[in-house]
Symmetry: C2
Subunit: 191 residues, 2 copies
């Protein structure tokens, strides 16, 4: 039997992805979790706790993924490829949680919002270091600055959440491969 607190978090993530944080009521969360609304407040202090916990969880997974890559792979090009894989597989394996982090940050206030923003920045800068190393090793082009190269990469990777279908013909791993090739080689026909 899954603990109630975990189930609450799971259904909250599902609802936040489907209807947005502001668009989801605590009544809906309670109902989907199979408890009364008041019981919810035995497990959380406020609705915002759920959002914060989900964002934190998402970033913990992404950060530990890229840290593992940094610890185990030293070759710049392979590092980049493995970081892309780790990112895409993590995100697509739990669309509810990561979509919530990517889209619903607005719902957080004060120190928690600042904390999540800081960890997002931290993650972006780790990827930027990987991209930078690849530039220095002549793996990636240097006529576009590292910040842009990294932001475009994240654009390509993150927003697959809007159209990736877990039950489709393309697996997450296959999509990660495809994105890697497109990011590195581009869309032009090889002459």
């Amino acid at each position: 039997m899954v603990q109630t607190a975990d189930r609450v978090l799971t259904v909250a993530a599902r609802l936040f992805r489907a209807k947005g944080y502001e668009g989801t009521s605590t009544r809906e969360i309670a109902k989907l979790a199979g408890i009364e609304k008041a019981s919810l407040y035995h497990h959380i202090g406020a609705k915002e706790d759920l959002l914060y916990t989900l964002c934190d969880e998402s970033l913990n997974r992404l950060l530990s993924g890229v840290e593992r890559v940094l610890a185990t792979e030293k070759d710049p090009r392979l590092r980049l490829q493995q970081a892309i894989h780790a990112h895409v597989l993590a995100v697509l394996a739990d669309l509810d949680t990561h979509t919530t982090m990517l889209r619903e940050l607005r719902g957080l206030t004060g120190a928690r919002r600042a904390h999540v923003l800081a960890r997002r920045k931290e993650y972006e800068l780790m990827l930027r270091e990987i991209v930078s190393d690849s530039q220095n090793s002549s793996v990636l082009r240097t006529d576009i600055d590292v910040k842009m190269l990294t932001l475009v990469l994240l654009n390509m990777l993150n927003w697959t959440i809007f159209w990736f279908k877990p039950d489709g013909t393309l697996s997450a791993s296959q999509l990660a491969d495809l994105l890697t090739r497109m990011y590195l080689e581009g869309a032009v026909a090889s002459s």
Copy 2:
């Protein structure tokens, strides 16, 4: 003097981008527009009207942009480049309106939601045709299917809304150029 109805729409777009559709109250919209909340309802029937009008406006501009390119440019590669430019310039010239369309569709219900979804699909399919023509003319690679090539392109273009700074050092046109190069050539160093 700008008409009240237009001002309402403008401030609604600004607020919807900043706080989300569900996170924005009609009180805030009225206040920022300089009228009482009740007066708002002389101009609109419901809050959702604002969201629908903004989504429709966004898609009208994007569709007419790509239609103009199709009408005036026949070369596949130039068509693709011009379509990218038209898209990026349109979106970045009015971040409030286009961000609302891209992010807040969830707030629409019923037939209006279906209508906006249909026009988004229509736009995607027009871009897909351009990409497909480029494949057939050996401009773009054919080892990745047209649907994926188009979705990745839209990923790259659309989500610049989250980090493009209108007052930054990079102009919208320069960013469009950069995205075009990255999409076509990729990130690898040319050997």
